[in-house]
């Protein structure tokens, strides 16, 4: 039971190096913090980007209506991606393939139906 522990003990040097690293970094930053003067002025605390003061809020919204575009695109694009390769091998597999594709299309249709009933598809 202890050979495993012995094996892990070989990682002790890694742990030691990590520890030394953390200590070193923390020590340097800490010493820096202790010795440096901190004189904050409002101007110094300002967020800036390339030397330019920020303008306006950082929050912009796009119109939720575009969600419908994205939604319909995903539904039909995903359809198409699977339908093309399916069409190639359809003949060799036969009815099983038809049924399975119908199940897949059915799932997509359920989503579409839900969206329709919830009024997502109407523009206004």
């Amino acid at each position: 039971m202890s050979d495993y522990a012995d094996y892990l003990a070989t990682y002790a040097s890694v742990a030691a190096i990590i520890g030394v690293g953390v200590l070193l970094a923390a020590g340097m930053l800490g010493v820096n913090r202790l010795f440096r003067p901190t004189l904050t002025t409002p101007a110094k605390l300002l967020t800036y980007e390339s030397g330019v003061d920020p303008v306006g809020a950082g929050w912009a919204q796009s119109n939720v209506r575009y969600y419908v575009y994205a939604f319909l695109y995903v539904v039909f694009a995903v359809d198409a991606v699977f339908l093309f390769p399916w069409a190639v091998v359809f003949a060799s597999i036969g009815w099983a393939a038809a049924i399975e594709m119908a199940v897949f299309l059915g799932f997509i249709a359920v989503g579409l139906v839900y969206a329709w009933r919830k009024g997502v598809l109407s523009w206004t």
Partner: protein, 539 residues
């Protein structure tokens, strides 16, 4: 892609593709749950609003119960496989799912959690006849639209199909036998949960913040997981766990790809199980999400993700155990200690339970460090038992949280819980039992689960983990005791907490989880035998 391989794909004659041979009976529990979810979507689309909520409950409950029955039938019919290790069942659906003993046990466990979750979702008596979910998620909090929707008694009954999708994803996750399937399952289980987190009726901003954080961090971790999968594919040339396992034990060279891949996959999974240092989302999400969702998520996600993690690392990366074990050791240690210490400083019940969930992830990782096979308790059986005991207690504890209320909805500040023992002794005793189980006091499920993971870990040579684990549980006890003192001995603040009178739904959840917690502590034999017989993973 090199020119040769393009040539191979484009130029070769379309080789006859065999129709996949799927044994539908074996994976019927999964199909039933996903079917119930799809049915739920249709119910949402077509059933009139007045009947919708009740219909959704019926669909979900019938679906879960039917899936449970199917799971039992499947479990009883598993063949015993004698390989290197004794196992049951095996891969099905062209090797993309492995319906083996652990998978079936996890299915049953998840369905049990799912049923309890649905019962909590269905509770409508606590908040003036409305469920815990917002009327219309799209209205801004506090707006006139929101008040209008509430007045019309609109409800988001979508939570039921969403929960079913999440449940289906969890079941798939626990039994997926290739990495790609696992990724799909991970997304199927995560996306509905992100959404459900943002649906709280009260304190909606907090809830939306939780959903946003969970989504962003979750998407980030999924990316890690996917990147890891890509690297492992680069190493082994396959997504299948069995093929990866063969490559790990026989292939020479390319170790760097494998190591990087394992590390990235581990990061993705540790995020889901809320292990330190990938735990940062847990307290915020647990606090912000509607409490029934938190209950479902705490129990279900943890169970599914742990079983998937054990499956990947024991089956696919079993041969590289000495490479990943040190990482698991280190993470288990910091997770246990951090969870225990951080919970001491908490003043909010839901955050406290979140940190306790982090600590329990650590204990479960201790179990992972144990033996993969043997006569005694193996890692898999210990972890499975632990997940049942922890999940039941966690759901019960969150169910109690839904009942302690004031005018603004649930009151989760610990100070407001003072004097609950006088207000409602039964509820306080139930909560105490859950806390004692979290703490691992004997005669609760928590003790036997800790004993079994520690036993498994000790057999696997992970004694330092056991020592740290015992110390961490003693530390954590400090906090649980503080809460119990508060419940029973502290003078109430103001009028003290009020306990809403719930419908039989929530009561039955509390009663069932208390019963499970105690039975697992006093008579753990049957469940332990069951998880033991489930045997090892079969690839």
């Amino acid at each position: 892609m090199s020119a040769v391989s393009v040539q191979a794909i484009v130029g070769a004659a379309p080789s006859p593709i065999e129709a996949p041979d799927v044994d539908y009976a074996t994976i019927s529990p999964l199909l039933i749950i996903l079917g119930a979810a799809v049915l739920g979507v249709l119910v949402e689309a077509f059933v009139p609003r007045a009947y919708r909520f009740v219909t959704q409950i019926a669909v979900a409950v019938v679906g879960v119960v039917a899936a449970f029955v199917a799971t039992v039938v499947v479990g009883a019919g598993l063949d015993t496989v004698d390989g290197e290790v004794t196992g049951r069942g095996g891969p099905t659906a062209m090797g993309s799912l492995s319906v083996d003993g652990p998978a079936v046990v996890t299915w049953a466990m998840l369905l049990f959690f799912g049923l309890l979750g649905v019962l909590l979702f269905a509770e409508r008596r606590l908040d003036g006849g409305l469920s815990a979910f917002t009327s219309q998620a799209s209205t801004p909090p506090g707006s006139a639209d929101e008040r209008h929707a509430t007045r019309l008694r609109i409800e988001h009954s979508e939570v039921f199909p969403l929960a079913m999708f999440a449940l289906g994803g969890m079941m798939f996750f626990a039994s997926a036998n290739d990495l790609l399937g696992m990724f799909v399952a991970l997304e199927v289980l995560s996306l509905p949960l992100y959404l459900m987190c943002g649906l709280a009726r009260r304190r909606r901003l907090l809830s939306q913040e939780a959903a946003m954080k969970y989504f962003l961090l979750g998407a980030f971790s999924s990316a890690f997981f996917l990147y890891g999968i890509a690297m492992v594919y680069g190493y082994a040339g396959s997504f299948g766990l069995a093929e990866i396992s063969t490559a790990v034990s026989s292939q020479i060279g390319g170790q760097n790809l494998l190591l990087a891949g394992m590390a990235l996959i581990l990061v993705g999974l540790l995020f889901k199980v809320a292990a330190v240092p990938f735990h940062a989302w847990t307290p915020d999400v647990y606090q912000g999400a509607p409490t029934p969702v938190t209950a479902f998520m705490a129990a279900g996600t943890k169970a599914a993700a742990f079983v998937a993690m054990l499956r990947i690392f024991f089956v696919a990366f079993g041969g590289a155990r000495w490479d990943w074990a040190p990482a698991v050791w280190a993470i288990a240690i910091i997770t246990m200690l951090f969870g225990a210490i951080a919970s001491i400083a908490q003043t909010d019940v839901k955050r406290m339970l979140a940190y306790s969930s982090i600590a329990h992830a650590g204990f479960l990782l201790v179990g992972m460090a144990g033996l993969t096979s043997g006569d005694g308790v193996t890692s898999v059986s210990a972890v499975l038992f632990y997940l049942v005991a922890y999940g039941a207690a966690a759901i019960g504890a969150f169910a109690v949280v839904t009942l302690v209320r004031d005018a603004g909805g649930e009151t989760t500040h610990l100070g407001r819980w003072a004097g609950l023992g006088k207000e409602s002794p039964v509820l306080a005793v139930a909560f105490t039992i859950f806390l004692l189980s979290f703490a691992g006091i004997p005669l609760t499920g928590g003790f036997i689960s800790k004993w079994s993971v520690f036993a498994a870990a000790w057999d696997g040579g992970a004694w330092p983990l056991v020592v740290v684990g015992v110390v961490a549980s003693a530390l954590a006890l400090f906090f649980y005791i503080r809460v119990v003192v508060l419940l029973f001995f502290a003078p109430p603040q103001g009028d003290g907490p009020t306990v809403a009178v719930p419908s039989p739904l929530t009561w039955s959840v509390v009663a069932i989880t208390v019963a499970v917690t105690i039975v697992l502590g006093v008579l753990p034999g049957p469940l332990l035998d069951l998880v033991q017989q489930a045997g090892a993973f079969v690839r």
